[in-house]
Amino acid sequence: MTDPQFPMTQTELGAEEPIAIPVAESGPRQKLPPGKWLRRNLFNNWYNSLLTIVIGALLLFVAVRAFSFVFITGRWEPVRANLTLFQIGTFPRDEEWRVVAQVLIWTAALGLGVGAAVAGAKFRALQAGVEYVTDPALDRLKRYWALVLLLLVWLFFADTIGPLLLTVASLALAWGGYAAASRVSGPNVGLLWSVVGVLGVLGFQIVSGFFGLGWLWMGLPIAVAVYALLGRPDTDDVKRQRRIQLIGVLVTFAVLFGVYTAVDSVGVEWDDWEGLQLNLLAAAIAIALSFPLGLLLALARRSSFPALRVMATTYIEIIRGVPLISLLLMAQFFIGFFLNTDTPLSLFTRAIAAMTLFTAAYVAEIVRGGLQAVPKGQMEAGNSIGLPAWKVTQLIVLPQALRAVIPAMVGQFISLFKDTSLLLIIGKLELLGVREIVHGQPDFRGFGIAESLVYVAFVFWAISFTMSRESQRLERKLGVGER
């Protein structure tokens, strides 16, 4: 009762017992010695002490059991022996080099992308006249501790030197890309993003092949670069410059079309993509497609054209009332009735379509929330400087709306990533599906079942957790300069 931490005023006011209001918390929080911290926070009265002991015992029990499960009793042989199967399923083994190339290209792209973001931030900071502060390298590594842990688990399970070499090589590429990109000067950051885009498409096509509409996807990032390169900020004749830029873009696409038609090399069928690779790719593609679709739906739902509004609303409300599994099953069994194609679409394509259509409805509702949060005055200000309605939406409303909904959007995408495990139901061999195969092997029948489940859950968790943390960081960063 006479604890010096609690001033006399408490008892003077007639409080029977000092309530734990932190009094001396103004100023920087002082660090207490562990003994004192314990006494103050965990054992400051009899019922807190009791609670601490009970919960402490429980935690200790769980920790001991978890430790013994992971390191002593756990039988990880099914996972260890089938690591490749978990990663790529029954992907043709003589085409494995494609996956290796993909990992290398994408890690390089990732490094360049992060570097480009940093270079952009540096440039903006320079222009705004503020100092750009980088997080210490250790902090940056800490942010990805879940992924690092996942990588360590893989390396621990691997029994050949291959995975270690791949890890080292891709880390080196990522780091090299980052180091190079972060030194790029401000005005060239846009071009850097185009390079990232090209590598992204290249990584995909190194597996899927260079044929068909591939030129269109590869053309997008290149066309953006060409458009920017042909632009001169100080030109007098804006119209003429626009024409030149347009011609440049068309030439780009024409050349790529020619190249792809000449090469015409088919890679590995989409339906042969399996394992974790399938989960990641399906999620990435569905995210990339459902975002623009959801955006359009949200805009249509707020449109002043009744027909658009009714269509968008109907679509959104129907899709949101249907379970994803039922959509996936529909995609498996009767999407072919609606689409008259000569060759049936791959199951992979149909599954992506179902997941995209499903997620787009949710994205639309999230975006609509963001649109509603933008004050009406913003639109009025845009109108009053003479911007046409679509430019007000594109340049003023959407940037603010999307910024406001990043956390909800990433949450939706995390849920989409986890939902790729439902591909199991339509007979796709994704991460969870591989597990079934593993336990169908004579060597691993009936044991290590919990272990392989824990492994699969851990993989999903490590990736989802990292996405979630990154979204929080992005949200904090974009908050800078807001009013």
Binding site: P233, E380, A381, G481
Partner: protein
């Protein structure tokens, strides 16, 4: 009451449609009505504003002052009557609306700067997107305007980093960047801390002296007295009395004007 108002109507009409300035008519409102549901926000508004004229609109809140100037650049749609700005009549034709909006700058009570863009980008957005000005030229123009409103050093900051008075001056610069023929001010100092009101009013005063045609809705009587060519008093959606500042503040004729002035002065 109704008779009384109508009786004054003729007088007001002749008064509110006489213009000062150069004598050329820039803005003309004829028998404008505006409803919000059943509520009549504007009733038979007749007014002309001459080129280079500064008209200050005052009146109690809810009197329709803001609604009137918001109708002039079609942020609100009027329900009856005609509004003509520099020879272009506001109709449902989107081209006419865009035309009028390009010629009219608007400054809002809440500034309404774009928080995701720097001060520079806030100002260059209109010139680059609407007038297709090259980036370099637009930025030179923006720097000139920022110098004019005395905050060139803030160009690369975001609106959230500026004080209210600075934000409102950026908003004025943003409107001026479109090289408008008319500037509309909708209570530009009402959201400002007292010590920042002066810097904004000074900017507006300089603008008036440069010959800009302006309609200013405000509660700043000192500004009205000093800068206005004419003062328009509105109440209950009607124009009640119009006159020079001298007439208006020293010998108002209408009872509602007298009551209003006795309450605020």
């Amino acid at each position: 009451m109704t008779d009384n108002v109508q009786g004054n109507g003729a007088e007001v009409f002749s008064d509110a449609t006489q213009v000062a300035g150069t004598g050329e008519v820039m803005i003309e409102l004829t028998a404008v009505d505006k409803f919000f549901g059943d509520f009549q926000a504007l009733a038979n508004i007749n007014m002309r504003v001459g080129k280079q004229e500064v008209v200050v609109v005052i009146g109690p809140s809810g009197s329709g002052k803001s609604t009137m100037i918001r109708c002039i650049n079609r942020l609100e749609e009027h329900d009856a009557g005609r509004i003509v700005v520099d020879g272009t009549e506001l109709s449902d034709d989107i081209r006419n609306i865009q035309e009028v909006r390009r010629e009219t700058g608007m400054v809002f009570q809440q500034f309404n700067l774009f928080p995701h863009l720097t001060v520079m980008d806030n100002i260059t957005l209109g010139p680059r997107q609407v007038r297709n000005l090259p980036k370099k030229e637009a930025e030179d123009l923006a720097m000139d305007l920022l110098t004019k409103v005395k905050i060139p050093e803030q160009a690369r900051k975001f609106p959230g980093q500026l004080s209210g008075g600075q934000q409102q001056r950026v908003a004025i610069a943003r409107s001026l960047a479109m090289n408008p023929k008319v500037m509309l001010f909708d209570e530009p100092t009402s959201a400002l801390d007292p010590e920042m009101i002066k810097e904004v009013l000074d900017t507006m005063k300089e603008l008036a002296e440069s010959g800009m045609t302006m309609i200013v809705v405000t509660h700043e009587m000192g500004f009205a007295r000093e800068v206005a060519d004419r003062v328009v008093f509105m109440a209950d959606g009607e124009i009640v009395e119009v006159g020079t500042p001298q007439h208006f503040f020293e010998s108002p004729t209408e009872d509602r004007t007298k009551l209003f002035l006795s309450q605020i002065l």
